[in-house]
Amino acid sequence: MRILVIEDDQKIRAYIEKGLTEAGHIVDVASDGETGLHLAVHEKYDVLVVDRMLPKVDGLFIIRELRGTGNLTGVLILSSLGDVDDRVTGLRSGGDDYLVKPFAFVELLARVEALGKRSARVQSQQGTVLKAGGLEMDLLARKVHADGKLVELQAREFKLLEYLMRFKGQLVTRTMLLEAVWDYHFDPQTSVIDVHISRLRKKLGDKNNTIIKTVRGAGYIVEDSF
């Protein structure tokens, strides 16, 4: 993916650039809002990582500006404010996702890749059936088959699996799951999500964690084929 990182903090910028490049992405960087906006308008990117507070041109202004010209590139906002208010205003001005500093790099990477996939999906509409290995999910009929066998899932479990399948082959962090599936932004303190996942695994007959894999210290991944 081509990713543009607009961040004024030299250390964080280098950290993100290095990590994303190692993950196999092409990364452009800008250290202030003006250069960032210029690049974002004139070049084509799959994902933008934009810091909220930027010299010259504010991060939210860049996003509004882009959305105003019909640019729908996925935008991940970085913020050190960490307040829900800011989160709400950030998302309202057109950001797709919001990450609070300090963050673990896996969290950023997972979100950036999810955003890249999402914007790719906008172009080629996904069908109503999700497939991964022997797992088949019919979103309209709300039915799940594992190796041809029907699996009964509760509404929340269905949403959980749906989210994992949508981003199959990609790391999904616990926070991403909390936000997407439970629709609340909060810090679960203990490993509630893990318990939900293990319950889901049990229902899917996933004995050795082969369908939903755990990535230590990061989150979960549903591989395309297993």
Partner: protein, 437 residues
């Protein structure tokens, strides 16, 4: 300052009194002088020579007969009496003002007090024109008396104001001295001494003392928190260090790194929680509050924790009244009840029941979470809300000691009240909200 103020006030009082006195005297004489001048001007119009003499005498006699307030004395160049009703000049002649004389005269109507002017005729004869000033003198006396009263009052004002300013300034100085001490010695336990109760400055001092109390409490809690942070992070940091040290010289595998990263993540989470508590306590999110159905929200929280509870064979008993609406922030409230439920599940014994109640009653919405765990002893009921506090029962379990601090911050932000009670057995947590209006 006090002295300067008093001196200034004293000077202005003196000037005022002088003006009053001087002005009164002048004004009071002016009328008399004008009347005397009028008589003189009539005399001046009379011609000269022997004819004039008679004319003046006739006039004088006529005037003194008709007006008993006017007195005359016509004398020749050698100061001998020629005509008029002042035959003998009294001895007590004094000068009242430039050109005006003052004396008393014994007459058939008793003692008269007179003011007089002398007019010299062309033939060197002189006419003394006098006017009774007894009435005027009386009012002049009155004026003098009033001025005296004013003077005394002014003096009193000066003294009182000196007292007040001395009092005020000494108190302000005392506050300043205390503040100065406080800053230079960095000693927040000092307070302004208050010896009276009734004045505004003592009120102010009391207020400042309350301020200082609050600042001191805050400082103490900050110190406590930073001590706790230091303590809470030192242990994992030391662990991290020794683990890194142990890896020295060996082949580093991914799972080693994973473990180290997980440990750093845990530390980062502690910081993040602290930051969140601070953010919430600063309370800049009130504007994001909107109508929230507590029952629905609690249902979501319960749904999230059900699998966790199931692992310990704990079941939830829900008594959720529908449509218990409050004004709040959904994310924060979710966090609040997630923390409370997390605690309840953590401390509940196997195969027990956690009861959740939401009810609306007389202008408040009550949420009750009752578990069957060990409960919290009375002595610890306040302490559990402190940052990093961990009761005996929780020492061995996972967590960072910030869950209830965060809960408390959220509760305060929602202007709700949270209290701990003894369940039967276990702990009963009550949160009382204002209903949505």
């Amino acid at each position: 300052m006090a002295a300067l103020f008093t001196v200034l006030l004293g000077i202005s009082a003196t000037i005022l009194i002088y003006f009053l006195y001087d002005f009164g005297q002048r004004d009071f004489l002016r009328e008399t002088e004008a009347a005397i001048d009028a008589e003189i001007s009539v005399l001046a119009t009379m011609g000269s020579g022997a004819d004039q003499q008679d004319q003046i005498i006739t006039y004088l006699t006529h005037r003194s007969q008709h007006d008993n307030r006017v007195f005359f004395r016509l004398e020749d160049g050698k100061r001998h009496f020629r005509a008029g009703n002042i035959v003998v000049l009294p001895d007590d002649i004094s000068r009242l003002k430039e050109g005006i004389l003052h004396f008393t005269l014994e007459s058939d109507q008793g003692k008269r007090e007179l003011a007089a002017k002398i007019y010299t005729l062309p033939d060197n004869d002189r006419v003394l024109v006098a006017r009774d000033i007894r009435d005027l003198a009386a009012s002049y006396e009155r004026l003098k008396y009033l001025s005296l009263v004013i003077m005394v009052l002014m003096l009193a004002v000066v003294l009182v104001s000196f007292g007040i300013s001395f009092f005020v300034v000494s108190r302000i100085n005392r506050i300043a001295v205390t503040a100065h001490d406080l800053i230079t010695n960095n000693d927040l336990s000092r307070r302004i001494t208050i010896d009276t109760q009734w004045d505004d400055l003592s009120n102010l001092a009391r207020l400042l003392n309350t301020f200082l109390d609050q600042i001191e409490t805050l400082m103490i809690s900050v110190r406590e928190v930073s001590n706790n942070i230091a303590h809470d992070l030192r242990t994992p940091l030391a662990g991290l260090r020794s683990e890194i040290e142990a890896l020295k010289g060996t082949r580093v595998e991914d799972h080693h790194l994973d473990k180290l990263m997980a440990e750093t993540d845990q530390m980062m989470r502690v910081f993040q929680s602290l930051l969140r508590i601070t953010n919430i306590e600063q309370g800049k999110r009130l504007q994001a509050f909107h109508e929230i159905d507590l029952s629905a929200l609690l249902q979501d929280v319960v749904e999230l924790y059900e699998p966790v509870a199931e692992e310990k064979n704990i079941s939830f008993a829900l008594r959720l009244e529908p449509a218990c609406r409050i004004k709040g922030d959904a994310d924060l409230l979710f966090q609040l009840f997630a923390n409370l439920l997390d605690n309840a599940v953590k401390f509940s014994p196997e195969a027990s029941v956690i009861t959740l109640t939401v009810s609306a009653r007389q202008g408040e919405v009550l949420v009750k979470i009752v578990d069957q765990g060990p409960g919290v002893p009375d002595a610890e009921k306040d302490a559990v809300f402190k940052h990093f506090y961990r009761g005996d029962a929780s020492r061995s379990s996972q967590g960072n000691g910030l869950g209830l601090s965060l809960a408390k911050a959220i509760v305060r932000q929602h202007q709700a009240v949270m209290s701990l009670h003894d369940g039967d057995p276990g702990l009963e947590v009550r949160v009382v909200f204002q209903p949505y209006q």
